[in-house]
Structure formats: C-alpha cells, structure tokens
Symmetry: C2
Subunit: 304 residues, 2 copies
C-alpha cells in the first residue's frame, strides 16, 4: 500500500503511471483541498477533480485541465448574462459540481462524495481529501489579498505574492481515512506538486506532519524543481518570492525533517551530494513525465 | 401603473398580453417565490424565471416551460453520475441559476438580482419577488411532507394533499418595492394562477393582504377555474382536496374581501349573478389565452 500526497496535474500524472504498475486499489492519494472554492453556490474541488478525471482517462489533453469532449454552453450563457465567467466550468464538469454540492447539502462528507464520484467514474485509486473541514489557501499580493483561484486563474499567477495563508489549517483535522493511510502505508510519496500551495496545505492539516516525521524513513519525495525551474505553474516564482532557494535543495529544505529519500532530476545530478549531506537518501533519474517511458522510470524509482 | 399578482405560466401569458397594450414599464408583477428551491447548491426561482423568459420572448413553446433552444448536456452528465436529475435544469437555464446564486452569495437581494437579469434580457415589465425573505410552500400528502417541486415535478402533482403550509410566511416581509407598487397602482390584478399555491403565498407575506383589502375597489381578479376545471395544473384537484368549491365562485370565496371585480369565463356566465350577490362586480369574457385574439380580449377586460 502506498500513499501519495497530491496536488493537481503533476500528481495526477504520477498516480496514473503508478497505477499502471501497481494494482490501483493499493494506491491512496491524499489530496489538497486548499484550492477548493464555492462558485455560483457550487463546491468545486480542482485538485480532486483533476486527479479523478485523469485516472478515469477523461482528462482533456488539449486544455491540460478539465474533461475531454467538454462543451461550454452554460459558460457562454453566463457570460451573456454578465455573470462571473472567468473561472471556466464546462458543461460536463458542472455535472460533477452539481452532484457534489447536492450531496454535501444533504450531509455527505467530501470524503464520501469523492468515493461516490470515483466509483461512478471507475477510478480504483482511492482519493482522499486531506480533510472534510474547511481549508482555503489565500494570497497576500501586490493587488491585495485574494483566494487561490483569483490568484491562479483570474490573475494567471502573474502577480507578486508576499505571503500565503492556509485559512482554517489550525482548526482542520485530517480524516480518519487519511491518518490510517499514513500510518499503514509501506511508502509515503510526496508528488512533484507545488510545495507551497499544493503540498503545504496538506502538511498543515492537524496530524499529517507529525505522522510524516514519524515515518520519515518511508517518505519519498519527488522534486518539482528541475534545474531551478518549475515545469509548470508558479512554484519557482513563489519559492523565490517567499525567500526559499529555487532549486531541488530549496524544496528539500522546505520539507525539512519529513523526507527519507529525495528524487531529483538528472539535470540536478551535481546537487546529489548536497542532498546526502542533509542526511537524506537521493535518487537521480528523469522526473519529467511528458514521455510515457520517462514517467515509467520515475514511477520505478518511486517504488524502488 | 398596474400591478399583477403572479404565479408562473398563466400569469406570464397575461403579462405578455398586457405589455402588448400598455407601455411595459407601467406594469409591475409581484411574483410568488414559494416554489423557489435550492438544488445542487443553486437558487432556482421557477415563477420569476417563467415570467422573465416569457416576457423576453425566450420561452420554450414545445416544452411549455424553460428556454427555447435549450440543451441538456449538464443534466445528461449528472444523470450518468447518478445525481438527482429529476428536476430538469437546461444548460441555458443553469446560467440564470449560476448568476443568481453567485450574486446572492455576494449579498445582493433577490429583488436586485431579478432586476439585473431582466435588464440583461431586455424585460421592461418590472418583476418583483414578493419578498426577499425565505418562503417555502410545503405539502402534506399521502406520501408524507414534501417540498413544492417534489410535489409538482417529481410526483407530477399526482398525490393527494391534505394541507399546504407556506413555511416562513409569518416571518417574511414584503419588500418596500412590493408595498409601494400595491399602494400606487391604479389597478391591482390577480392573475389566473393557482390560488392556493401561486397567489396565496403572495397574500400571506406580511403587508400584502392588508393592502389588497384597503384597495379592494381597484382589485381585478381573473378566475383560473373555468366550468369547474383548471386549464392546467392541479388547481381544481387541490381546491377539492382542501374543501373549496371547484368553481369560479369557490376561488372568489377563497379571495373573500380582496376582489372588486371578478372576471369569469363565458362558460361560467350562469354564475355571474352569484358573483354579484357577493358584492363583487363581474365581467364575463373569454379567459382562455391560448389564442392571441382571446388573450387580447381578456387583457382589454382587465384594463377596462
């Protein structure tokens, strides 16, 4: 049984590759919910949905997010009405949000709803929202305080950030399923997701960090920074803005005390000794999953 | 200035015809919100939307409800997910509900949101929800207590009703706009909507009944019962189940003390004297609006 701390796209790819090798039912993903939002009255869970759609084979390769075969009738009409249409919700995707919102309104937990949706979509990897409590990643920026999606989607993460605040983290509890999976896993993987805005909200939920510290020997992390750059998204920029070194070492230091084995890209081979000097095992391999063959190599390294 | 107490389809037709004769900006519709519902996290206002779509010329003639040129992608997908899809929300229609839900979440009142939507759709008749407070028409039935839409849509109003409860009516206040329009109107019209479930929720909101009693001389009602039958919907069945006479007289008695002039159909001409004997003026004309010419005659009678 392996458990993967997961953000969105990068984690989804890793999980898809892992589930080609392992029986998917042996994999649990603990998923960030800090960028979940309420939009138009609907509860939207971008990371959970990205993973779910990817594992169901329904992800939209053209867009890089959302569902394949998507249509946009509702958004077109909402736009025509002068509504807030900057956060694009496709017609197929909306069905997920309607389903979830209705079930939550009827008292189901996010954990339960996620299981129902996965079951319906044939996803056999177990997806667990890190918490059923409210969690909201907020940004203090040059344009003022804003929500995750305002930062990420509305402003295309093109605004300087001075602080990240995980609102609700102090009160949120990890679900029992999450704590169990962290206790029972033979391996805990930290996916190459954004450390500050995808993984940190998971670590900040009560109970998670303690368990990782206790189980550090089986914790394997994959660096999301390759030769000083993020493959995608604002991880590099955010690390710099918030005073971290923008390298695989900077991320490792951010995860201080949690990592047993750190997987870095071949482009960072010269930094392997510096990883070892921090008392952490190191594996150097390709960490870019664009090519299936590379993804398999990364997957093998994670499972080794 | 005329003010029309309005339910859904029947009122929408009358309003559309009236606005062919009068300047639409001289017409105010006070609209029932007792069948409003929260579905999938969205606030849905069936009567407001039926009137709005009809006056915008966007109503779906085939279906008899909803929008023309509607598509059903979201509902198909929701159905495939095993979601609650019995209350059909079309893709175009959903945009209205997303818009409204988002604006309400941001603190706008239903009155304000309705004005915004009407403005966007080019509707010049002023639509006023009778109240911005919560109001929910509930039914005690052979199958237990249920909401308006469970009764009306899910069970196709094909279940015996023992009582109707307008939850929230005692606490709900009519908006200032509603009270003003009732005070200032040169004529107040009660549309041929269902008296028990479309008009009564309006009358029960604090302030409305008192104003109608005071202004009874200018109140004109149109009977929704013709020769003992409702043209559409469960008005006849409900009147019988709840102990009222199923006739234009039974409805007039239900509106006791509120009506100055009662418009009945030619099929009920023999009942004209019985109306007069109740101290109410009577007009006998066609009240079936299916033919435009008939609708114009009814409209002329209302305005006479």
């Amino acid at each position: 049984m392996i458990t993967v701390l997961s953000g969105g796209v990068g984690a989804a790819r890793l999980l898809a590759t892992l589930s080609d090798t392992l029986d998917p039912s042996e994999i649990t993903a603990i998923v960030n919910v800090g960028d979940d939002l309420t939009m138009h009255g609907l509860t939207v869970c971008p990371d959970l949905d990205t993973i779910m759609y990817t594992l169901a084979g329904l992800n939209n390769h053209q867009l890089g997010w959302g569902l394949e075969g998507e249509s946009w009738r509702v958004m077109q009409e909402l736009d025509a009405l002068g509504g807030e249409a900057w956060f694009r919700l496709g017609d197929r995707d909306l069905a997920t949000h309607l389903y979830r919102s209705q079930r939550l309104a009827h008292g189901a937990t996010k954990t339960e709803v996620t299981a129902e949706l996965c079951d319906r979509l044939g996803v056999r990897v177990r997806l667990l929202p890190v918490t059923d409590d409210a969690l909201a990643t907020c940004f203090d920026t040059d344009l003022g305080r804003m929500s995750f999606q305002e930062y990420f989607v509305r402003h295309h993460h093109d605004v300087a950030v001075s602080a990240i605040d995980i609102v609700g983290a102090d009160e949120a509890s990890a679900s029992n399923e999450v704590l169990e999976s962290l206790r029972d896993a033979s391996k805990i993987v930290i996916a190459p997701s954004n450390p500050l805005i995808s993984i940190d909200p998971i670590l900040r939920v009560r109970g998670v960090r303690d368990l990782l510290e206790q189980r550090r020997d089986v914790v394997v992390g994959v660096s999301p920074i390759i030769d000083g750059h993020a493959l995608k998204g604002p991880a590099d920029r955010l690390l710099a803005e918030l005073g971290h070194e923008v390298s695989c070492l900077g991320v490792l230091d951010f995860y201080k005390g949690l990592i047993g084995t750190w997987i870095i890209d071949e482009a960072d081979a010269t930094r392997a000794d510096a990883v070892r000097s921090r008392g952490v095992d190191v594996v150097v391999t390709t960490t870019i999953m664009a090519e299936p063959e590379n993804a398999r190599r990364l997957s093998a390294a994670v499972l080794a």
